[in-house]
Structures are given as structure tokens and as C-alpha cells.
């Protein structure tokens, strides 16, 4: 079974994302901040990561930068999932090595489509 880590400081968002991802056949883990996410990845690298941008402490971009430096950190498909919806921000995320980008609000179709485009389904 493929694994997906949901990184978001909102419990509600994590819950919504978990339901969608489980319906798509993923085993889901949750992290409430960047440090937590990196700790999770150091233990078991997930197949995919749904990553919020604005979080207390480390932001999503920094999480992504550090992840890609980790051993095996190039492997997970990283999809930003954020309220940030400016083209420059999306471009920046892609430059940092994000595979796809979801703008909130999202629904199941968008998540499924973006996971497919990232090659994570």
C-alpha cells in the first residue's frame, strides 16, 4: 500500500485530506508542522507528501528544501496544498522541487488528478 504524509497545521484540513487519500487507497500519516514532517520522513520515507505552505515554525518551502537533501529525500512526490495562489509562488515551489501544486479549496477530484499528474497514483 502506498503511503502519503499530510503536513498541515489545520486539523480540519488533515482530516479532509485523509478521507480523500484513504478513498484513493493510500495509508495516511499526519504531521502538524515541518519538524514533525521531517522526523516522520527520517523514519519512513512516504511515497507522497501533501504539504502546506504557511505553518508555524518552518514553512513548507523550507521543509521541501531540507527533505530533498535527506538520503532518499528525492523519492517522494511532493504536492503543495496551500491557500497561496499566485503564479510566482507556484513557480517558486516547482523550482524547489515540488512535483505538483494544489490551491485550496480543493476537492477529491482535484487531489486525485494532481496525484496522477505527479505520478503518485
Amino acid at each position: 500500500m502506498k503511503t502519503c504524509l499530510v503536513v498541515d497545521d489545520s486539523r480540519v484540513i488533515r482530516k479532509v485530506a485523509r478521507r480523500i487519500l484513504e478513498d484513493l487507497g493510500f495509508a495516511v500519516a499526519e504531521a502538524a508542522d515541518g519538524a514533525d514532517a521531517l522526523a516522520w520522513c527520517a523514519t519512513a520515507m512516504p511515497d507522497a507528501i501533501l504539504l502546506d505552505w504557511n505553518m508555524p515554525g518552518m514553512n513548507g518551502l523550507e521543509v521541501l528544501r531540507r527533505l530533498r537533501l535527506e538520503p532518499g529525500g528525492a523519492a517522494p512526490k511532493v504536492l503543495f496544498c496551500t491557500i497561496e495562489n499566485e503564479i510566482d509562488r507556484i513557480r517558486e515551489a516547482l523550482t524547489y522541487g515540488a512535483d505538483e501544486y494544489i490551491m485550496k479549496p480543493f476537492d477529491g477530484d482535484i487531489v486525485a488528478g494532481k496525484l496522477a499528474m505527479a505520478g503518485a497514483l
Binding site: R91, A93, L94, A98, Y101, M117
Partner: protein
Amino acid sequence: MTPGQRVLVAGLCADRAGLRVDPEKAYLLENRLGPVARREGFSGLDDMLQTLRDRGDERLVWAVVEAMSPAETTFFRDPQTFDAVAAEVLEDLARRRGGQPLRVWVAACGAGQEVHSLAMLLEERAPAGLTLDLCASDLSERRLEKARSGIYSQFEVQRGLSARRLVRHFEKQDDNFVLSQRIRQMVRWRRVNLLEDLTPFGEFDLIVYRNVVGAMLETARGQVLGNLTGALADGGYLVTGLGDAAPGLTALPGSNGVHRAGTAGRAVAA
């Protein structure tokens, strides 16, 4: 809406555009027609439908029929179809047509996602030296207006469009995303009812007709497919939805909805 009003509307849709509208779907009918009544200045749906029945004015009839024609689609729907078009169809046509521009028609283009997907694909990976005359049609003038504007909501640009294509081809405009002028200017737009005689439009090398097939009545479906097949140049291609039949044409292998017309005097390689 009364059952009688719903049957009236379903009948008009069938007669004028071959559309299959289920008169039992009261919610769908009211949802689509409510905005038309407001836009046309009626006090309500009843008022508009009364006028429609009493006077049958053509402009109002079409406003109603157009509102009932299907609109929903996404960017790059059925990616394998686009792959086949890029890898096989365009290569083949470019080879056979020499330096001649290819004539391409996206029929029933809805809000434009399909023709814009094709235009993006061509901009990204058209075979060298290929020039092209790309046109799109729809039954609904209002939908053509929206398609022509190239303005899509945040929801729309997240359906089928990759983040890479979004940053490459779109700019943010208030809460929406607008397609670049470079892509938009590749497309010419025209209102066409596919049940009508299509011969004045000439012959096409590639016709894409994927969106409304399921919403057509059986007889109208056959007529439209016949009309479009008749508008294909020798060895031209018709792209349908996955699993849609195209009588008289040869389906390319790979179940991608791509069909090829025969070439006069030469057998078609399947």
C-alpha cells in the same frame, strides 16, 4: 416548473439541437434555466416559459436550448488521447501535408478547455515546420464568449492542468487565471449547430468531437457523426470520446478515441 413546461423544453432541445434532456430532471432544468430567465428580464421561470410557449420567439428558444447543452469538461481529459494526437496524428499529418497548414476543428468546445489544451500541446511540441489553422465551435454563443476570453476559475485550472502548464501558460487576474495571448490567438471561434449542413466550412485534417456525444439523442448522434465524417479530408482524423464508435472510420490501436478516414485509392493501415 410544471411537468408540461419540462416536456416543452425537452422537446425544443431535441428538435433544435438533437439534445437529450430528461424532463424528469426538474432540478437540472430549473438550475440551468433560472439564470436565463433573470438575464432575459423575466420575473421568473414561469413567466419565461409562458412567453416561450405563447410566442415561441426564436432568440428565446435558442437561449433556452443553449443553456441546456452540456458544458462540463476539463483540461487534457483522457491524457492518452492527447498523447496519441501529439505522437501519431500530428506527425503523420505534418508529413503528408508538406508545408500546408493543417486544418483543425474542435466541435462542441464548451468553455474552451479542450481546444486550449490542444493549442498548448501544439505550442509545446508541434512537429517542426507545422503550421495550423485551429478553430473551435459551440452551440452556445455565451459559452463561446467565455471560451474566447480564456479566463478560468481556480477550480477550472486545477482540473486536468499540471502546475507546470499553469505557470507556463497562465497569469493571475484577480481571483481567476487568464490564458496567455500567445495561446488564445491560435484559435478562431464560431457558433455552429452540428446538425446543420457543415459543407460550407470545408474540409479538415483533424476534427475533435468528444464532449456532447453522450448528451445527444441516438438519431442526432448518428447525423452529427455523419456530418463531421463528411467534413474530413482524405486520410483525416476524427477524435471521439473513449469508446465512442465512428462508423466508416478506422480506430487507431490503443483505445484512445482516435479514428482515421480512408485515403482515396489507398488502403488504410490499421
